[in-house]
């Protein structure tokens, strides 16, 4: 009996110490809040053979954010940050919309041609161009950070601002509407009742986790985040590790751009992916990855992103306007960072340990 309870306790402590614990606690708190104040939140229905409801929305609309958060985790783990994700999303979306445009290269553009359900370029090429554009942006960031040695914040800030200009340039300053139905599959399609975006997320997450945990790349990333110089002295090319991290982040943002533009049937260079950098940083921070780099967990960041989406949708359900929500999120990020700081963590552990030692002494008395 004793060994059994001991095992149970150790499993519980292991769960409490795992990076997934706190994000899950946050998620449960938000869901309990929903259960009390917005009872309709948990309704899941089946319409035309597809699952519908707020919870499905969280995952479906949250897919781009989850992807961006996965990329952002890698960058933050190398003691950097990628502020350009929103702009990369816009560039990727613009790329897709322009290549689909049936009137591409034609001088005469009439509405009849524009609104036709045909594409100028075959779909696989469009997807490749989307991903390629985003990956190139990530490569550019990585080059600036690792080779030119600009601080990550400034290097990516340049693309954050100039990138929206680039996206405008690609779309010629217009909000491009997409009428090509096969393109909608990524954001609106379903496989066995579940959105396609969810499958994409799962695929990327599994691939990234395998890459990070089954090869030594994850270890390299963590060691660069802890101390880039000593990593370099131990014979690892910290420059290339950083380059890979930023390129991966650009790649993830590009997939997010593909899904978002497919979901919205359009590419609006100014507004698509707005505030994604805030949400992504928030997800990573909630996932327990420190802004100072080092230890990271992809799964915890994913749960962090789900927490953010749930929080956002909950706030919309309660009736908070979208623009005002950014203020609340900003405060939330700071609070979470402070909560995860060493000092408060020590305090929490102390409380837990005190409870345990008290229980032990009670046991001893009995």
């Amino acid at each position: 009996m004793a060994t059994n309870s001991e095992k149970k306790a150790s499993l519980l402590t292991r769960f409490r110490k795992s990076p997934v614990f706190w994000p899950l606690v946050a998620l449960v708190i938000i869901l309990i809040f929903d259960g009390i104040y917005a009872p309709g939140f948990f309704k899941i229905g089946i319409v035309e053979g597809h699952l519908y409801g707020n919870l499905i929305d969280v995952i479906n609309n949250g897919a781009p954010l989850i992807l961006v958060a996965i990329g952002m985790t890698m960058v933050i783990a190398t003691e950097g940050v990628d502020l350009s994700v929103g702009a990369v999303i816009a560039i990727s979306a613009a790329m897709g919309a322009v290549l689909i445009n049936p009137a591409l290269g034609n001088e005469l553009i009439s509405n009849e041609i524009l609104t036709q359900n045909i594409s100028h370029t075959p779909l696989p090429l469009i997807v490749l161009a989307n991903l390629g554009a985003g990956t190139a942006c990530g490569l550019f960031n990585g080059f600036l950070v690792s080779r030119v040695k600009i601080q990550p914040m400034v290097a990516t800030l340049i693309l954050m601002v100039a990138g929206r200009g680039l996206a405008q340039l690609i779309t010629n300053g217009q909000i491009m509407t997409i009428y090509y139905t096969p393109y909608f599959w990524f954001g609106n399609g379903f496989i066995i009742g579940i959105p396609v975006a969810v499958y994409i997320v799962i695929a990327v997450l599994i691939a990234a986790t395998l890459l990070v945990r089954k090869t030594s790349i994850g270890l390299f990333v963590e060691s660069v985040g802890v101390n880039a110089k000593s990593t370099f002295f131990s014979g690892i090319s910290e420059k290339n590790v950083k380059l890979i991290a930023y390129t991966f982040s650009g790649f993830c943002a590009a997939i997010a751009g593909l899904i978002l533009s497919s979901y919205a049937h359009s590419a609006d260079a100014n507004n698509i992916g707005a505030d994604y950098e805030l949400d992504a940083i928030l997800s990573v921070v909630i996932g327990g990855t420190l802004m100072a780099g080092g230890r990271f967990s992809l799964l915890a960041s994913v749960i962090g992103a789900v927490v953010i989406r749930t929080f956002t949708i909950t706030m919309y359900t309660v009736g908070v306007p979208a623009n005002a929500l950014t203020a609340a999120k900003a405060v939330l990020v700071l609070l979470v960072i402070l909560l995860y700081s060493d000092q408060s963590r020590r305090l929490i552990n102390k409380l837990f340990d005190r409870g345990k030692s008290k229980k032990e002494s009670d046991d001893a008395k009995n």
Partner: protein
């Protein structure tokens, strides 16, 4: 000779900035002869008054080795808050003082979080940016017009300049220039200014030398908050309205101006005066695009981004050479 060489090394980025400004402006003058009119030149100061003010605050922060991304959010928040307060018929001077107080308070709060809780400056100020913009939308989601007499007087009174005929600037334009001179003197000739440079070079050794690091750091972020609130007042005076979407990504323009002005992003190197020329270069590019008329506005963003990159490159070359010497 060695003296001249040393002077060139120390002031290299600044001189390069001034030279580039002159070249860019002369190219503009050749392309569009109307740009040679003195009023067009002084329009640079009029149009970029608020950018100049936030850039001055940003220059101090960057000199100290920090960064302040919240400035554009503060401008939006100040414009909306002052417009909302003016609608309640509160005296404009009281409104302005309240806005400045709010700027200092927010800057001070961010400084405290950065220093005492050891959170990275860019995280705190990025959150400050989102917070300020969000609060602006909380106050009012659409734009509010300002019809206050005093604000209109400030906005519409022309000050004729001496030595030039038919050339005039407006009252808010002077705020940036006055602030620039004050901050230049503070940064150059006071203990506070020296401490800012020392922290920028090496915070640890500044602390070990017994310099008031905590006080200085918080003061610098407060000054930056003050500057952004002042810029917000100037902004709302020039547009006579307040809206949460104003001054979008102006923090990038400010950082670009500071970098182009020869201040190193790593801190401790640079000059506040250079920031003025950074702002002027920024403004000249916009003016040329406006004179051209066929190029679209998003080229400004791309142009400023590329220019910033080039200048960061020049800087790192300069400082590498310096180190080797």
């Amino acid at each position: 000779m060695p003296k001249i060489k040393k002077f060139l090394f120390i002031n290299g980025p600044l001189l390069a900035t001034i030279l580039i400004f002159i070249i860019v402006y002369m190219i503009g003058g050749q392309l569009y002869p109307a740009m040679k009119k003195p009023q067009v030149f002084f329009n640079l100061f009029i149009n970029n008054a608020s950018l100049l003010i936030i850039s001055i605050g940003m220059a101090l922060v960057v000199l100290m080795g920090g960064i302040d991304l919240s400035v554009s959010g503060m401008i939006a928040l100040t414009s909306v808050a002052s417009a909302a307060l003016l609608q309640l018929n509160i005296h404009p001077v009281v409104v302005m003082l309240l806005m400045l107080l709010m700027g200092v308070a927010l800057g001070c709060a961010m400084g405290c979080i950065i220093h005492y809780l050891k959170v990275e400056a860019f995280v705190v100020t990025l959150m400050g940016l989102f917070f300020a913009r969000g609060m602006a939308y909380v106050i009012n989601r659409s734009s509010i017009t300002i019809s206050d007499e005093f604000y209109r007087y400030l906005a519409l009174t022309k000050i004729p300049l001496p030595f030039f005929e038919n050339v005039s600037v407006y009252i808010p334009t002077l705020a940036g220039i006055v602030l620039l001179i004050i901050v230049f003197i503070i940064a150059r000739f006071t203990f506070f200014g020296r401490t800012v440079y020392a922290i920028g070079k090496n915070e640890q050794s500044a602390l070990l030398m017994g310099m008031p690091v905590a006080r200085t750091k918080i003061a610098v972020y407060s000054i930056s908050g003050f500057c952004s609130a002042l810029a917000g007042i100037v902004f709302s005076i020039s547009l006579l309205s307040g809206f949460g979407g104003y001054a979008k990504s102006m923090e990038m323009d400010a950082i670009a101006s500071v970098v182009i002005g020869g201040t190193a992003l790593t801190g401790g190197q640079g000059n506040v005066i250079g920031t003025l020329f950074g702002v002027l270069i920024n403004g000249t590019i916009v003016t040329i695009l406006q004179f051209n008329g066929t190029l679209t506005s998003w080229w400004t963003r791309i142009g400023v981004g590329v220019l910033t990159l080039i200048f960061i490159g020049i800087q790192s070359l300069f400082y590498l050479k310096k180190k080797r010497d």
